[in-house]
Point group: C2
DNA sequence: GAATGTGTGTGACTCATGCATATAAACTAG
DNA sequence: CTAGTTTATATGCATGAGTCACACACATTC
């Protein structure tokens, strides 16, 4: 296929199809592990990765849910013994911490996610995977910027769910400066 | 980044993040146009592309909904004047056809989808886009096969929604044999 | 033409969520 | 130190998309 406009339309279309199917598979696989609604896996992973002991409000902004929705979610998670509410220093706040079981579940979620994603990559050669990674990094940076702009333009928009929900920070190489999203955020300003 | 196992984990992770965010943006953009639930845009596009005048049952298997769920969806679409139920030859069946308004809405959905996808590609050079397209084609073919296997193994699984929902057939080059999903399906057997 | 299969619609319910509101703790001022 | 405001959590009620079980209409076959 030549590098015509039509080949770009093909690229866009295939990107749409693949994103949809990859996200679908990831979500269904992961929701089967913590069958407490679409947000439950994201909540567990967020806590596991960087938000253990955080408040309900923090959780709600990660997930893009209302506060009350998040309260109910935490109720469900607590009923399953995946999290516990413990008092924070701030007397009105609550610290939501993962239980042992919750930590194991979060780990299983991440593992399932990676398995699902690896299967999508399985048909590629190591070279192709490396090239793909570079391209995806570029795209992710662009989308991160686009999202930030949208947020600053449309002031009273619905709260957006966190871009990196379900991400495995270690796999992404966030601490080594390899996470494209984190890099964009650092060089501009807000999350 | 060297082609180590860790770089593959990075690739997998970024693929997950990007798929999620691209699918999210696509879905929210598109659901805003036909605000009748998550399946409404997919239904309109499916009809627009290849299922105009199809039965409720056909629609339900495309969307991965139960029959009754699809009936309710068609009710909603009809209430908005986007589709109409007309009698089919088969007296018990019903032919769901797009109205003029429905056709326009479907076209707007496709257009919005493409805009959203194009923005994700905007940071890439033409060469990168072409290379990406080849890689995505390969992955899409692999995922299509994986899905087919899962379906044949887990016999009584939940019905899977259609892989190519929201796809623009013309953009994909389906008729020219450029659609990777269609090509896999043709060389093996069922949809 | 009676039995069985296929397609559609309906009533009752579920479940995740949002909105409005209540309550409680923490700051801030006088 | 008390009063008012802000911040955090929780709760009642509503909603919307979907499922399940069932009923009905037409078809097909023996």
């Amino acid at each position: 296929m030549p590098r015509t406009t039509s080949s770009h339309r093909h690229a866009a279309n295939v990107l749409g199809a693949l994103s949809l199917v990859v996200a679908d598979r990831m979500n269904t696989a992961v929701e089967a592990i913590a069958a407490l609604g679409p947000s439950a896996p994201a909540a567990l992973v967020a806590m596991h990765e960087f938000l253990d002991g955080g408040s309900v409000t923090q959780l709600s902004s990660m997930l893009g849910l209302t506060h009350s929705g998040t309260v109910r979610l935490v109720d469900r998670l607590a009923a399953e013994g995946l999290v516990e509410r413990v008092g924070a220093q701030d007397g009105r706040a609550v610290s939501v911490v993962l239980t042992q079981r919750g930590r194991r579940t979060a780990a299983r979620i991440l593992q399932t996610r990676e398995k699902s994603l690896a299967s999508a990559l399985s048909a590629l050669s190591p070279d192709e995977i490396d090239n793909l990674a570079v391209t995806l990094d570029t795209m992710l940076a662009a989308v991160t910027l686009a999202r930030a702009e949208e947020r600053s333009v449309h002031t009273s928009d619905r709260p957006q769910p966190w871009l990196c929900r379900l991400c495995d920070f270690a796999a992404c190489g966030r601490s080594e400066g390899n996470c494209p999203v984190n890099n964009v955020v650092k060089t501009s300003n807000s999350s």
